[in-house]
Symmetry: D2
Subunit: 343 residues, 4 copies
């Protein structure tokens, strides 16, 4: 059994990690830290865990964390870069669900996150944890940067297209829509039910931190820079992301359905649906699956990809556990093969 620690488990990615790890056949939760909730039983804060998790939150403590095989950081940006180094030095492998190690271009990271980065060496070492792109490197990684939720949804949908070279990589459009849990479990007016319920709006139109991350991922995948317009939106629901992706066909293109199916033929968590399908976020609620469909409306020169996932699972905690499974040579699907909760 792997000994597992979690730093900062009071948010939505934290409770989702707990739900998944508590039932994981090869993992044993050892410690979960939270400055604000130290002493509180985990199941007191999250009563869905009553009878499943007996731990209490504890003060951050390197000694206890260092006894783990792997530590997940489910913290705001800026936290993991301060602590990950010491754990790595003591032989612990680290998976950061935050943003500290996602962007290879440190000055760009500093611009978007408004902080000076304290561990450029670790940025260089970190493996970007999108298994469909980086599985081999993840297997060997000490430090994995788990992707953002919009990033996973959008990148998996564009991946076959940018790899194939069939589309104009300079004019991609990603219209992405997220449930409110994406904003985190923190007191804030804009995501109150009475504000975000029964309404729909865009956000981050002038620039969102997931934009450079998607650009980096697609450039890695396609071997060339991409031009991307990315507009995220807030949906009056709790879980789920849907991205509708638009790309212009550039010259000749082959069979899109076959391209997508072959790209993901061996992927356990990417499900290319039959031609004509419409993915719905509810069909992946609570599951680690990204479902997608590819369309060419009216037979024209625009490809439309519809991509859905659960922002807290394949978009965060589930993908983190998938990375853990790969890093430790476990069955990749262990603990994350649950079926989505419908309706």
């Amino acid at each position: 059994m792997l000994k597992v620690g979690i730093v900062g488990g009071t948010g939505y990615t934290g409770v989702e990690l707990l739900r998944i790890l508590a039932a994981h056949p090869e993992a044993q939760l050892q410690v979960i830290t939270s400055r604000g909730e130290a002493g509180t039983p985990v199941a007191g804060l999250f009563p869905n865990l009553r009878g499943h998790v007996d731990l209490a939150f504890s003060e951050p403590n390197v000694e206890r964390l260092a006894e783990c095989d792997v530590v997940f950081f489910a913290t705001p940006h800026g936290v993991a870069m301060e602590s990950a180094g010491e754990l790595l030095g003591r032989g612990v492998r680290v998976i950061d669900l935050g943003a500290d190690f996602r962007l290879k271009d440190v000055p760009e990271w500093e611009r978007w996150y408004g902080l000076e980065h304290s561990r450029r060496d670790l940025v260089e070492e970190a493996v970007y944890g999108l298994p469909e792109l980086n599985r081999a490197a993840i297997r060997e990684a000490r430090l994995v940067a788990n992707p953002g939720c919009h990033v996973t949804t959008v990148s998996l949908g564009f991946l076959p297209l940018v790899q194939s070279g069939w589309v104009d990589r300079a004019s991609l459009v990603a219209d992405s829509k997220s449930g409110a849990s994406g904003a985190g479990r923190k007191a804030a007016v804009p995501t109150l039910l009475a504000e975000a319920g029964e309404s729909f709006k865009a956000y981050g139109v002038t620039g969102h931190r997931h934009l450079p991350e998607i650009r980096q991922t697609l450039a890695t995948a396609g071997g060339a820079e991409v031009g991307l317009t990315f507009i995220p939106h807030l949906v009056p629901m709790t879980r789920g992301i849907e991205a509708t992706l638009y790309a212009r066909i550039d010259g000749d293109a082959g069979d899109l359905q076959a391209l997508f199916e072959s790209t993901y033929a061996d992927e356990p968590f990417v499900d290319v649906m039959p031609p004509g399908s419409i993915p719905e976020t509810r069909n992946v609620r609570g599951a680690n699956t990204c479902q997608m469909a590819v369309h060419r409306p009216g037979g024209g020169d625009t490809v439309v990809v519809l991509s859905v996932l659960d922002n807290l699972v394949k978009g965060a905690a589930g993908q983190a556990v998938q990375n853990m499974n790969i890093m430790f040579g476990l069955e990749e699907t262990a603990g994350i093969d649950g079926i989505a909760l419908l309706p």
Copy 2:
């Protein structure tokens, strides 16, 4: 035209007051204060008011408020009791949408609200602003204490029963359900969409501030103390309250439908629906109406009253304007005769 001021207009009762007063044929908004938002155009914070309200929020300023005919306090408890006195002294009439003057029993108020009351004299003077109970006194009032939202829903439903004496007043049960706007427009985790959405729960089970207020109202109406169990609940929606009320018939009872219809025959904002009806909160969304129906399931000895209203209108801002209309001899329905928005 009445000159109207609002103190503390950045919450949900504030914006609802603005919506109603901006379209009121006899009222002119003069000033709206907010410490936190002073200088911000009202329509910047609430874009639904673009083109309808040109004011900006201003610092609280007694001089400017004193030029008004009437000032509404849409503030947390403890604010109105500090400022209302001076305005009254300068001839301004005051309607407090908060709780400062609702309970006649000051020690009880202090227990529930955890503050020492600074103006017992004004508590004594204040008229409780439930027009269906106190219309004559409201007409003459300088200071009106506008009722709480659960209180209005529950009290209007029980009123005919406690006045008639047909039921056991010692064992009333009120199971009340409110949308999330009742918790106000303030940063808080429990009313985030991702917390309160897709879920249902009770709250305030060990004691809610509206309990003593309902008890006082029903005691006034029925001429005797009542025994009441009141449990509020949070509904995953923005607006609306539904109360399901239970009372045991005590001895003989007459025609319940006739009782309710005659009690409210002359009331412009209480709508007793036909026998067998089921009120729905959406049928009163945005309107100043309380719709209700009375049932006697299985012909047994329990009376069930179903009562619905919009917590921000008849449960707050609409009722406050109804009180203003009465106080100033205007048509009682002026500015609050809009039709509910369905669906």
Copy 3:
């Protein structure tokens, strides 16, 4: 007072017409027909209208409709084309909220709607009721084809761009999102709360009837055919549409904000928000306003327009009444100047 009739008033556009017309200062509801609900009081089906509308639904009857000055058809496609002619012949003006007279290209209409059109002459005569494009013609029209809801949202947003010629009209993208009331008030599994709630999906990806209508509208506005990819989506809410529009700048472009502001400077129901704004559907709930903002993310060559409206008001019943006001020389804002219900 105008005498007004409604054919088919049991759906959501019907009840919204009733809400607006019941409070309209210059209109008098005379008759409202419904085969299925003949004899039912309107306020029995829609209790929000209790005390405001005393009519009952009646069987369709040309004689009674012919006594009206104007008749609204709030019917499925195929109904208005059978009856409008006779009413027109008897001097009644007609506003069709359905699709029968929207597309000038009859064979294209027949392909999308799967019916043979019985009144090509009326198609030719009908004026497309988008006041911002066709006000002068509407003024003289006997027969107005009221636009679709997605169409209004998308077309108003693109209008300044296609008229200016600053963008590539061949590669427009419209990602539109609608609340569930857009699917109408009819028994159907896909729009059950337990299906469409807490989920997000696209629909009509392989082709939606609003596509040719948007294309026609933009071609009329810009004087040239457009190439458009249009993907509608279903949002888990009742009212509102948001469209996020993408266009590539083609050569030089001027000041986008100024373009939008000048285009709509005299429009009472199009509100161009300040630079940097994010429209939200809730800010126009129940109002006849289209709010929009124009962005150029990262200063790149893609223009993004965000456009919101209430699908039942500016997207249907409100715009129909706006057309009525224009046709009869009333104040254009009469009866539709209400403030949106926030929150």
Copy 4:
């Protein structure tokens, strides 16, 4: 491995049975029937099952069902009573999630369901499948009548009180609130998102079929008839039931918390929360747990029990599998020990 069949699997209890059974360690889905969907792959109708269930719906066929060890009926009332007998005769054990065998009083059943009952013998034989009340009998049962969702929520909450004799059994009140999935997956106007969303209402006020079933259950548990007022309500959410229960203390009462804890000390799926707790439906979403808390507001003579469960799990499919586990001597928690999905 048990061979399992499902009759009528296209509704919400059907898809939930499929989700649970597909992951059950001791069960093997053999056949799932549906007249309307025969030939359709199950995962085509319910894409959450893609990759987990390979079956297609098939025409009802006794031969194939007779090869199963157990058959679940997830059908409207009236279906199981026609087919269960033959399966029982061929040695198959049957669990009916519908209502056919729930009420022992056949004339009362016929009154509430408007049908003549064709198998009074089976009604007599059937065991009511509430494990907390009938575990021993379920173990031996050939035919189990799985309880209704409101019934389970309300009965488990009242059980300790009626068994203890501490309350007045003649004046119980159950105010129950259910998500919209309780109304089933069938085309209907009242449960459209645009009807049931953003609104709250009671239903079945004049009489609901779960009333006699609760009465029967509590009479069995307490050894005496009960007087109960039961009012169900519709909550704008998909899953979950919350019941707020009111009972008057009759004479002396002991420690309520201790009573509840001892009653359910050995129950794997009833969780009595600590004093002062407030159960929320989201804390049991997708889990087979009933969480409850007992209160005595103000120390008065009214006991308030708050009881929540997931109507599709402990209120339907999960409880049915719990019954299967008991009937076949499996670990009672097998396949239904998943953790609730929060948020």
